[in-house]
């Protein structure tokens, strides 16, 4: 039994390591920022996932207790990784708006990040005005 667990942990560790390496290699190899963004989302999903399964298996089969902190790590990674990616993508689009031929947005005016600054800033300054103490 312990032998099987050993082999299984080894297999998952290798799988996790492999995808981690591929993700990092992609970060170097891919040409531009937008496609580079795809690499880290990969490394966090299957790469880290493999390592966490290994840790789960190891604590259960070899150390004899079930540790579920790994599941929490997966959950938090799944919550935070897309947000980071979204922020990087938005900043990138904002700075390189002329370089890309973005698809149409139908009835809406444009993509949210390219909306004119005044439109975004106006309600904010209004509310600041309101907050000023009147004398």
């Amino acid at each position: 039994m312990a032998q099987i667990a050993d082999y299984l942990t080894a297999v998952f560790l290798v799988i996790g390591g492999f995808f981690g390496v591929v993700g990092s290699f992609g970060l170097i190899k891919l040409g531009d920022s937008m496609s580079r963004l795809h690499a880290p989302t990969k490394a966090t999903t299957l790469g880290v996932g493999g390592v966490l399964i290994t840790s789960l298996l190891h604590s259960y089969a070899i150390e004899g207790y079930l540790s579920v902190h790994e599941l929490m790590i997966t959950l938090f990674l799944f919550l935070t990784a897309p947000i980071t990616a979204l922020f990087i993508a938005k900043a990138h689009i904002h700075r390189h708006r002329e370089d890309y031929d973005l698809p149409e947005t139908g009835d809406d005016t444009c993509w949210a990040v390219l909306e004119k600054e005044e439109v975004v800033a106006e309600p904010l300054s209004d509310s600041l005005e309101d907050m000023k103490p009147t004398e």
Binding site: F18, F19, V22, F25, G26, K29, L30, G31, M34, S35, L37, H38, A39, T41, K42, T45, L46, G49, Y65, S67, V68, H69, L71, M72, L75, F78, L79, A81, P82, I83, A85, L86, A89, K90, I93, Y100, D101, L102, P103, E104, T105, G106, D107, D108, T109, C110, W111, A112, V113, E115
Partner: protein, 165 residues
Amino acid sequence: MKLLRRLFPHPLLTLLLTLVWLMLVNRFSWNSVIFGFFLGVLIPFVISPYWPGMSRVRHTIKIVEYILVVIYDIMVANVTVARLILFKSNADMKQAWISVPLRLRTPEAITTLAGTITLTPGTVSCDLSSGGHYLLVHCLHAPEPEKVRQGIIDRYESRLMEIFE
């Protein structure tokens, strides 16, 4: 019944918070079940005035199904993208921007969809249109962008429609 509704505005959130607390404690004991349940009741009760339009989630079975589908897709797509990175030259990659029309209207549902799209490798959700009717998605390699768009709508959006709306 009405009192029960008021005490548990979001039964699923209560359950989730209890589970998360148990997982954080990392050792099963009835003490932590009770304290976790206490937190699970207290937190939704305290935050509900600050989150007025919070959408009620139905169909617990559908949520489990959705999570399983996404995990399966992540594994399959990871292999596909690993092959792309290793064996395809940068010049051969057909990158594409696609816009996905959204039928989902609640912010929670759109957030879930955008997160799912980013987690499944090969696609990253980048932006929302100003009125919230379209989602901008960047594909690493999509010779047929139309197919990717249809895949997102059929596989994820229709399921989220059933869960959230």
